[in-house]
């Protein structure tokens, strides 16, 4: 989808909006910015290892359209693999469009899902222009976003039941899907969101998601994000979060599918006591490219961050991890830990990992580390010495490498489903999977 195609389609899609539509001005501003910057290229430091050319070259339709029955049918089939049971509170986006009547939020006090008008109002309030300058793909999302969703949790509300957010990708046409999610968590409130990306095997859509999170003080938000597309999909996303005093954000990223995946996460620990925990597991094999790019800003004192990513790279797979932690002036008492551990299963795989630490204040505790390796010989020998054959032992250890991080998922049914999906993608699963 070349910049020219985007430019010409943009005018048409803007003309379809009502003249009073609250999104018009912002969309035009965003499009102008995207036109100015264009797609990020490998000349940009943040994109050195990830080339968006396959997306630029792909013929994709960026225009939001209403859903057809066929799309809904396909989507319903995909929903059978849902991570939570049918009774769970859920929102379904089919190719970026909110599926009508699929919301089951009855009886959840304090949680509201707001539509187009409120979402765009909020996007304007967030003054996202600075964000677009740093992330041209976020500007593109703003220009073309279809149904925006604002998830709002009022103050002092503890929602035990996880909210399920499902993104299905169907075979409608090769589409550029631009979903926009905003999440506002009121002071002292608590919510868990389970985000699930699922698509038909041969679908070659591009999803370009932007999620903006605002957490008020003493709130807790957890997002488990599980991506299991077929291997032809493109996926780029930016999650931008601002965390207030004593609030905590926990993020878990698991990527199994996709052809080209780029996850950007940026978290601003903006007030004292703010904390975040980010963990991730990704698999890249057979021409898959998975890039996790995180940036954590410790802007206030006594803020804490914990980050642990694990990559498993197989034959012709490519993994990238770039984790930047910035401790700003005045953020004394910062406590930051980051690790990136990677398992290379094939000589024909590649991993580029780059932890970065910038510290502009004294009295901080920061640690980071990156490893790239093979399976541990001691562990392998120990398992084999119990009678387990070498391939099975290797399978178990590869799974263990991922599972050690997946244990952080606190919703048991999600943890088990995700763990078994990860296991199913690992070498020789048929030999050892029965043990789990």
């Amino acid at each position: 989808m070349t910049p020219e195609t985007l430019h010409s389609t943009f005018e048409a899609s803007l003309n379809r909006l009502e003249t009073s539509d609250p999104s018009r001005t912002l969309r035009s501003e965003a499009m102008a910015l995207f036109n100015k910057f264009g797609y990020p290229t490998r000349k940009h430091e943040n994109w050195r290892y990830t080339d968006l050319k396959p997306i630029v070259k792909a013929e994709l339709d960026p225009t939001p359209k209403s859903l057809t029955t066929n799309q809904i049918k396909q989507s319903n089939r995909l929903l059978d693999t849902s991570l939570l049971d049918d009774g769970a509170a859920r929102l379904v986006l089919v190719d970026g469009e909110l599926l009508p009547n699929a919301q089951t939020l009855d009886g959840i006090q304090g949680l509201t899902i707001l539509g187009h008008e409120e979402t765009w109002q909020r996007i304007s309030e967030l003054q996202s222009v600075e964000l677009f300058q740093r992330h041209p793909l976020a500007a593109l999302n703003t220009a073309f976003a279809s149904s925006g969703i604002l998830i709002k949790l009022s103050e002092n509300t503890n929602i035990e039941q996880p909210l399920h957010l499902i993104f299905t990708s169907t075979q409608a046409a090769n589409k550029a899907i631009q979903p926009r999610i905003l999440i506002d968590i009121g002071a002292g409130s608590k919510l868990t969101i389970v985000q699930h990306f699922v698509g038909e095997d041969s679908v070659a859509n591009w999803t370009n998601l932007v999620t903006q999170i605002t957490q008020s003080k003493e709130s807790h938000l957890t997002i488990y994000r599980f991506q299991e597309y077929g291997n032809e999909q493109f996926h780029t996303e930016l999650l931008d979060a601002k965390i207030a005093q004593d609030a905590k954000l926990k993020l878990g990223y698991v990527d199994l599918g996709g052809k080209l995946v780029r996850n950007d996460v940026q978290v601003d620990l903006a007030e004292p006591g703010a904390a975040c925990e980010i963990f991730g597991v990704f698999l890249a094999t057979q021409g898959q490219h998975v890039d996790n790019h995180t940036r954590i800003d410790h802007t206030a004192p006594q803020t804490t961050s914990r980050e642990a990513f694990r990559g498993i790279i197989g034959e012709r797979g490519r993994g990238v991890f770039n984790g930047k932690v910035v401790v700003h002036r005045g953020a004394q008492g910062t406590d930051a830990q980051q690790s990136s551990d990677n398992l290379l299963l094939s000589e024909r795989g590649e991993i580029d990992t780059k932890p970065e630490l910038e510290i502009y204040t004294d009295d901080v505790k920061c640690a980071h580390g990156a490893t790239v390796g093979e399976l541990d010989a001691e562990q392998l020998f120990y398992i084999r010495s119990r009678g387990v054959d070498e391939d099975t032992a290797k399978g178990l250890l590869t799974f263990a490498f991922a599972n050690d991080v997946l244990r952080r998922i606190e919703v048991p049914e999600v943890r088990e489903r995700v763990a078994s999906c990860v296991a199913g993608q690992l070498p020789d699963y048929e030999n050892w999977g029965g043990l789990l």
Binding site: E378, S385, R386, E390, F401, D404, L436
Partner: protein, 256 residues
């Protein structure tokens, strides 16, 4: 019942990076016997244990080992285990992310498959190890923990014995299983070992200290020094070593 030879080692020489560690070791272990191998640090005790299990860090330069009539060196590590050879590790390995239950079940089923026996399902498995866990004083939540991760020294050793009891090996080699145990844990471990003792099996206890041998009484005691067995005797030899140390054995050996 007629005794059969479980293990026969003849003239074993082994080295690691050009440094000779075993220098012509001979040992014969028959069914129903418990052998203790004692010796100072660096005498080659652990090397012997690791070679028996098939660790490839050591190079065997000459000698033969027969295990139940088979050439041990023709078997891979996992084949040895399935044939009934078990090594209790001196330092059990931590494996974060693999449940104890997974490993135990995998080990048991691998052995069963090799012997054309049906696989155990979850129900059978639980039934099978319940008594063994009680004997080792382990609670059931222990099965859902990762293998040896965050275990105390005593828990790790008890876990080794639990694995041994589950697999019921023909030959158990226990490499300093008594080290790092307090008196109570030592008793638990010893009762586990004793429960495996019968006329069909053999046990080799590799140890520094005599205290385990008061609880698991050996039929034969051997002193390993500089890669050879320099003296053999019965439990009284272990008691003498405990009182007098190893120097006199070494001197005696040097004068031969």
């Amino acid at each position: 019942m007629e005794k059969s030879i479980i293990l026969q080692i003849k003239g074993l020489h082994a080295q690691v990076e050009d440094r000779a560690i075993l220098n012509g070791l001979d040992l014969k272990v028959s069914s129903g016997e418990v052998h203790a191998i004692m010796g100072p640090n660096g005498s080659g005790k652990s090397t012997l244990a690791q070679i028996l299990a098939g660790r490839d860090n050591y190079e065997v330069t000459s000698g033969t080992i027969e295990f139940c009539g088979k050439d041990l060196f023709s078997l891979s590590t996992e084949e040895r285990a399935r044939e009934g050879l078990f090594l209790a590790f001196q330092y059990p390995v931590e494996i974060p992310g693999v449940n104890n239950a997974y490993l135990l079940k995998a080990a048991l089923n691998a052995q069963r498959a090799a012997n054309d026996q049906p696989q155990v399902d979850a129900f059978e498995f639980t039934k099978l190890i319940k008594d063994k866990m009680e004997l080792m004083q382990m609670s059931s939540d222990f099965l859902n923990r990762s293998v040896n991760e965050g275990f105390s020294g005593g828990e790790k050793k008890r876990n080794e014995i639990l694995q041994m009891l589950t697999l019921e090996p023909r030959l158990a080699v226990l490499d300093e299983t008594d080290s790092g145990l307090d008196v109570d844990a030592l008793k638990v471990v010893a009762s586990g070992i004793n429960s495996l003792r019968d006329s069909k099996r053999a046990i080799i206890l590799v140890t520094h200290y005599e205290r385990l041998l008061e609880l698991v009484v050996p039929d034969h005691v051997h002193v390993l020094s500089e890669g050879c067995i320099v003296k053999s005797g019965d439990r009284e030899l272990a008691r003498t070593l405990d009182k007098q140390g190893y120097d006199w054995v070494r001197k005696e050996a040097a004068n031969l």
